[in-house]
Amino acid sequence: MNPSSSLPSLSSDVSLESSPPQGRGAAVEFRHVTVCYGSDRGGVTAAVNDLSLRVSPGEICVLVGPSGCGKTSTLRLVNRLLTPASGQVLIDNQDVASLDPVPLRRRIGYVIQQIGLFPHQTIAENVGTVPRLLKWPADRIRRRVDELLALIGLDPARVRDRYPAQLSGGERQRVGVARALAAEPPLLLMDEPFAAVDPIVRERLQDEFLRLQRALGPTVLFVTHDVDEAIKLATHVAVMRQGGRLAQYSPPAELLASPADEYVARFVGADRTLKRLTLITLGDLAWGPAPGDDGTQAAPMPAVSSAANARDALAAVLASPTREAMVVDGRGRCVGVVTLNMIAALLAAPAEAPQPPSGDPDGRGRLVRGGGAGAEGICDSE
């Protein structure tokens, strides 16, 4: 038919757009973006300097660097709280400068360190903010709010009608994340969201956040000054330096294995080798067979959970006289043995090795699990 003859290229574009790898994440791209601040002497200083960066749908891009390196400015460019002096910011190939900022912001979740919950509104009203701005029907907002509160681990019946001041810091932080996710945004901007809570709560919030992100699949731009947090959360880490320049943009494992220069190496820390180990979950390792197959019970050795990372395993191994530790599964059964040599071998592996194929949404430096499976349930840990 005649009318359809002009459509093929368009429709193929659409089908690509409508099925990104992660489902509903947006693609973000910075093209030679520069942000300037006027100074007292009339000159201008760059907060962000010629930044080019691509974030694929469903990825977590963590911007990390010392204060004043322009990471927050970079984030605020995306929802147009800041306008670049030059360059473009694109969301799903659309220049944000061409979009009306108000509807744009309603499609982008935004979480900041001070959370900024509305103190005069109940938790339910806070979480329902963007759906209300989008004029969702009241009962749909209500259902969505309860669903989100349950998702972040808060009992809707308990917290729905409370005010932010009645919640603990960690709970408020969760509500801030829930509020940002309320209208199912394809993109989430998070500016040091967990910096104000204590380390134990922070770690739990980080774990919950990773779980939520995997379940809901938005693309995330995340700002922090904490390298460990960046390595834990990121699919890609953007290390920035003073003057708003990008020093390195790589997956965490690569960043730790081969820092681009002296600055990045210093920034990620002298213990970057140990940090690399945190990226490897013990459960994904090819560990040795469990002891006791031949009936000889080996000397008592420390146990590590298969859910622990290789750094925890290293600590256990070093504490063991035999330089070995027992790997136990969730039910406390011994499933294998990890040795010092095995951990050392992990670090000898080239940086590219732990990288997953591009289709792997997890992209967090896994090794392929092998062996060990046959040893399950052979011995008890206690």
Binding site: N79, L81, P101, V102, P103, L104, R105, R106, Y110, I112, Q114, I115, G116, L117, F118, P119, H120, Q121, T129, V130, L133, R158, R162, Y163, P164, A165, Q166, R179, A180, L189
Partner: protein, 221 residues
């Protein structure tokens, strides 16, 4: 005061119950009009100041000057123009509320935490939604604080307008002074003070009702 005149004649008070009631209504009307009009003008002024920042200094200066004019002098100037009318009284009374009310509305809006404003804008509130849904509700405690000062001050000032034929309870005070009649003086002054205390209490209650988030925190589970 005549030698045999008692400090307080209860029978005079009972005889004049109707008039006291009328004066109460007059006093309340003058006060409500003054604070209401003053609040409306102040609100408009604040909206203008937020849009055109350069207006802040001249408007603050102007309301400051108005506040310093002695009320007697102001009425003396106004009477030849507007006569011995309620309009004359209200021009004076409203003028005196502006300094307090503009100041408290501005302070109230400034008291909204920066991060709250930041997230409201970041989530896609328009500037109108930011003002009406976030900034104004959060400004309520400070604004009501200003309203309390303005109301109590106005209730006191209303008595002065007795000199231009208005005045509510001020009428009794004036009567008492002119005739050396202590009962009227005491009735006028006491009722004016009681009215101020009552109005202040009502505003405290209003603040309580409109800002549950400021006290619900004590009811933690």
């Amino acid at each position: 005061m005549t030698p045999n005149e008692p400090l307080l004649r209860w029978e005079w008070i009972l005889d004049h119950a109707d008039e006291i009631w009328q004066r109460l209504l007059e006093h309340v009307t003058l006060t409500v009009l003054a604070v209401g009009i003053g609040f409306a003008l102040s609100f408009v002024a604040v909206v203008l100041i937020r849009r055109y920042h350069y207006l802040r200094e001249p408007l603050t200066w102007l309301t400051g000057v108005l506040y310093t004019i002695p009320s007697l002098a102001l009425f003396a100037v106004l009477v030849p123009v507007t006569g011995l009318t309620r309009v004359t009284a209200e021009i004076g009374l409203v003028s005196y509320t502006l300094l307090i009310l503009i100041r408290s509305i501005l302070d109230g809006l400034l008291s909204v935490p920066a991060e709250v404003r930041e997230t409201a804008i970041g989530m896609g509130c328009t500037s109108g939604q930011l003002l009406w849904r976030v900034e104004i509700p959060l400004a309520v405690p400070v604004v009501i604080g200003g309203l309390r000062v303005a109301t109590v001050t106005t209730i006191g000032l209303v008595t002065v307008t007795a000199l231009i034929g208005q005045g509510g309870f001020g009428y009794f005070i004036l009567l008492g002074m002119q005739r050396f009649f202590s009962t009227a003086l005491i009735v006028g002054a006491t009722l004016s003070i009681l009215l101020a205390i009552l109005a202040d209490g009502l505003l405290v209650l209003a603040q309580h009702w409109t800002t549950p988030w400021t006290w619900e925190r004590r009811r933690q589970a």
